[in-house]
């Protein structure tokens, strides 16, 4: 278990981006800078997903901030735009639930993670969805992620439940495995495509 990454996964379609200016709020139509907040029960693998995403694309020339709880990673999309994700991890333990608004305030994306082997974590995910619908910024992009998809034999939350819940709430849904890196890059690429673009952009928004 855990997120001991094996080999870097370079098969993704999101290309690497060289050093990009750390300079403040350099967000324009071609280069988006996006605050992404991670929510979900303690132990569902929030941090592992991000580490997989960041390390999986590791390249000495890319400027990646590796902290224990704040990470950033830039991906390039096919339409030659880039998206820099600034990923805010949150503590998942129940005792810190009331502090979450401090973190998701101003976030453009919320990734809500549960563990497919834990129905309680799925319930908690639904709690976060409701909270964000009430208090998050109105145009926030929500993604529901069922993690630990490699543990088929222990699955307790059917894929269908995730799909249906996400559909009902107008969210993007995906099952991932931080362990095998399955769908990790897809998750972030899909989010990147769904971001509202400031004018000019030629991206096909859904």
């Amino acid at each position: 278990m855990g997120c001991s990454a094996s080999l870097p996964d370079r098969s993704s379609s999101g290309r690497l981006v060289g050093p990009n200016s750390e300079n403040g709020g350099a967000s324009d139509a071609k280069n988006l800078r996006v605050k992404l907040v991670l929510l979900g029960d303690s132990g569902v693998g929030k941090s592992c997903i991000v580490l997989r995403f960041v390390r999986g694309q590791f390249d000495p020339t890319s400027k990646v901030t590796v902290g224990a709880s704040f990470l950033s990673q830039t991906i390039a999309l096919q339409d030659s735009t880039t998206v820099k994700f600034e990923i805010w991890d949150t503590a998942g333990q129940e005792r810190y639930a009331a502090l979450a608004p401090l973190y998701y305030r101003g976030a453009a994306v919320a990734v809500i993670v549960y563990d497919i082997t834990s129905p309680e974590s799925f319930n908690k995910a639904q709690y976060w969805v409701k909270e964000l619908q009430k208090h998050g910024s109105p145009d926030i992009v929500l993604a529901l992620v069922g993690n630990k998809a490699d543990l088929h034999e222990k699955r307790e939350v059917p894929v269908q439940d995730g799909i249906e819940y996400a559909e009902k709430n107008g969210m993007f849904f995906i099952e991932t495995s931080a362990k095998t890196a399955d769908n990790i890059n897809q998750l972030f690429e899909e989010i990147a495509k769904r971001l509202p673009r400031p004018a000019i952009s030629s991206t096909q928004n859904p």
């Binding site: 855990g2 997120c3 224990a68 704040f70 503590a91 005792r95 502090l99 973190y103």
Partner: protein, 374 residues
């Protein structure tokens, strides 16, 4: 994160340019902005907005200024860092912890931390054993406590970042050497809370209001949020926030309060006296840190006692104070040992820079003093 040595260079460069006769118009704007603050009573949210607007106006003015003709973004940024430091140092006593509410929250928070310190243990926050590293925690706390040595928002923010980096390193090291799965914020926040931030409310509010907004993004914003979050957690903390029996929690808090009351009686300045004097006139940072020292000493109520003064009833308290002292002493010893191995040089220069800066107005004498006035 830029080192602090470059910070003094930036600031000197700013002062130098302000001494150039060509910058007279900028100096006038700065001066009249600072003076304008003495006309109104403190109103943190409004003041913050005014300062942020001033930064924006000045950034435009600097960009268009002949002295900065052809300057890169980075050079303009440096000038702005210098400006922020100058303006906020001048306005510090007027803007830091400027309302009775803020003073009260600071006081309440530090009182609560005092009480909690008597019994709170890492297991109450379910902090994994591999992360219970007294030396690292002390180091993080030490970084954070430097926050009161600085007046500029940028430097205060650096203290927050340095503190968070120590904790980050602790987590990263544990994940590599101890095979502890890196759990990100699940581990980060509890350790930060347990690191017992000193009375932080005013410092955090000051940074949020007066640090240039373009700099309060990404990593800096994240770690600042974590500290706000730790402070909020402590402020709201009750038995339900901890892995502790509710009755045990109440009893421990009560016991700590009794001890504190006894010690207050014996300590010279009364709490009430202190609050009112702070509410009326701002005693400035030096007076405030003096308060802190005396309240720290009052933790050890038996210092001026003779053996004959003690009664059987004192034994329990004496023992708990003794235990506190021993725990702190052993902790400090370990930390000092580690410190001598991994000394952090930059802060020495930082403090030097500060002293030089504070004496700056005298040193530069008439010509700059007249223009960039008090």
């Amino acid at each position: 994160m830029e080192g602090s040595s470059s910070s003094s260079a930036i600031f000197y460069d700013f002062l130098d340019r302000m001494r150039n006769p060509a910058s007279l118009d900028l100096v006038r704007s700065i001066k009249s902005f600072i003076v304008s603050f003495s006309f109104y009573a403190a109103n943190p949210e409004n003041d913050g907005k005014k300062v942020q607007e001033f930064y924006t106006t000045m950034e435009d003015a600097i960009r268009d200024h002949p002295l900065w003709a052809g300057a890169t973004d980075q050079e303009v940024d440096c000038a702005m860092e210098g400006l922020e430091k100058y303006v906020m140092t001048k306005l510090f006593s007027r803007t830091f912890s400027s309302t009775p509410e803020d003073v009260k929250i600071d006081l309440e928070t530090s009182q609560k931390i005092h009480l909690l310190q008597t019994f709170l243990k890492p297991e109450h926050l379910d902090i994994p054993t591999v992360l219970r590293n007294e030396a690292s925690w002390l180091l993080a706390e030490k970084e954070l406590q430097k926050i009161n040595a600085f007046k500029a928002p940028r430097e205060k923010l650096l203290c927050v970042m340095n503190c968070c980096k120590v904790i980050n390193n602790l987590l990263l090291n544990a994940s590599m050497s101890e095979n502890h799965v890196l759990a990100g914020a699940d581990d980060f926040l509890p350790v930060l809370i347990y690191a017992n931030p000193p009375q932080l409310h005013s410092n955090l509010k000051f940074i949020q209001l007066y640090r240039r907004q373009t700099k309060l993004v990404s990593e800096a914003a994240y770690y600042l949020t974590n500290l706000v979050s730790a402070k909020t957690f402590i402020f709201e903390l009750n038995a339900k926030s901890l892995s502790i029996d509710e009755i045990e929690f109440e009893e421990s808090m009560q016991a700590a309060r009794t001890t504190n009351k006894e010690t207050e009686k014996e300590a010279t300045p009364t709490l009430e006296g202190r609050t009112t004097s702070q509410g009326q006139t701002d005693p400035g940072p030096s007076a405030r840190s003096h308060d802190k020292e005396t309240s720290g000493a009052s933790n050890y109520p038996y210092m001026d006692k003779e053996a004959g003064d003690l009664t059987i009833g004192d034994v329990e308290r004496l023992l708990s104070v003794y235990k506190q002292v021993v725990t702190k002493y052993t902790g400090l010893c370990t930390a000092v040992k580690h410190l001598s191995l991994s000394r952090t040089e930059p802060h020495v220069t930082n403090l030097e820079a500060r002293n030089v800066f504070l004496s700056q107005p005298e040193k530069t004498g008439k010509n700059s003093d007249q223009r960039v006035g008090q």
